[in-house]
Amino acid sequence: MAVCVAVIAKENYPLFIKTIPTENELKFYYTVHTSLDVVEEKVSVVGKNNNELRELYLGLLYPTEDYKVYGYVTNTKVKFVIVVESSNTSLRDNEIRSMFRKLHNSYVDMLCNPFYTPGEPITSKTFENMVLSMM
């Protein structure tokens, strides 16, 4: 189960961040912010990349002593970041991939809602419930 889920817009400002209720939520915000640099690095590696590596799932961005951070970027440069606890070794790569797939599907559905303008903070209850089911 994720500890923190974040959706970051093309211009690198947060659209949506949800963390499990702890006393020091700010450290998750900071972790997500620093992971953006790693995302940029992974996205801009050119030259050696052939087509098979060009997928949306970025994998493990970086591990800290307590947490592991995973990233995913869409073709419209919207980034999803999931933070999980390091002690949670039962979470396999496939499960993280399916979490990102669910996030992406919900995001696309929410974008098609006429009450949502792209670039605004996300306030949709459906999206929030889907994220809460992953935490």
Binding site: V43, N75, H104, L111
Partner: protein
């Protein structure tokens, strides 16, 4: 699965309605309104259609996506011709543009064509904007139902 004609008929009605319900001096705003409707549609479509694609390498890749996947899914056919001058100008030519086939197949009703092309222009602009390519899209018709969309990339 709804028939393709549904979208075409709906589009014609939108154009007609906007025209009828606007004041005499707001006629030119119709085209701008249609373009911005198309823009929002294009943004959502781009997000939905690129969901399962791999990441695009460069601008040319994005343009090819527009020509093949995007056009195929929206208009159920491919672009007939794509030309570029490699300096940020692309011309997409469609010889049987869906929205114009029912209007005429010659020179009749040419003055009305721009209104029907405003929404598709907006869709292309919206899709490209969401994919990170800022551009200006214009359309011209020489003979119905063929039309050319000119995409000019804004750089800097």
């Amino acid at each position: 699965m709804a028939d393709e004609i549904l979208f075409e008929l709906l589009h014609m009605e939108i154009v007609g309605h906007l025209q009828r319900s606007s004041q005499k001096d707001e006629q030119d705003q119709c085209i701008a309104k249609l373009e911005s409707i198309g823009f929002r549609i294009g943004q959502s479509l781009a997000e939905r259609f690129t969901r399962d694609c791999s990441r695009f390498k460069d601008e040319l890749d994005t343009m090819k996506f527009v020509c093949k996947d995007f056009w195929n899914t929206v208009y159920k056919k491919q672009i007939d011709n794509l030309r570029t001058n490699h300096q940020g100008v692309y011309v997409l030519q469609d010889n049987r543009f869906r929205f114009l086939t029912h209007i005429s197949s010659g020179k009749q009703y040419m003055e009305a064509a721009p209104k029907y092309l405003a929404l598709p222009c907006g869709m292309i602009r919206g899709a490209l904007a969401n994919l990170g390519v800022n551009c200006v899209v214009t359309a011209e018709v020489s003979t119905m139902p063929a039309c050319k969309f000119q995409i000019q990339i804004q750089r800097g």
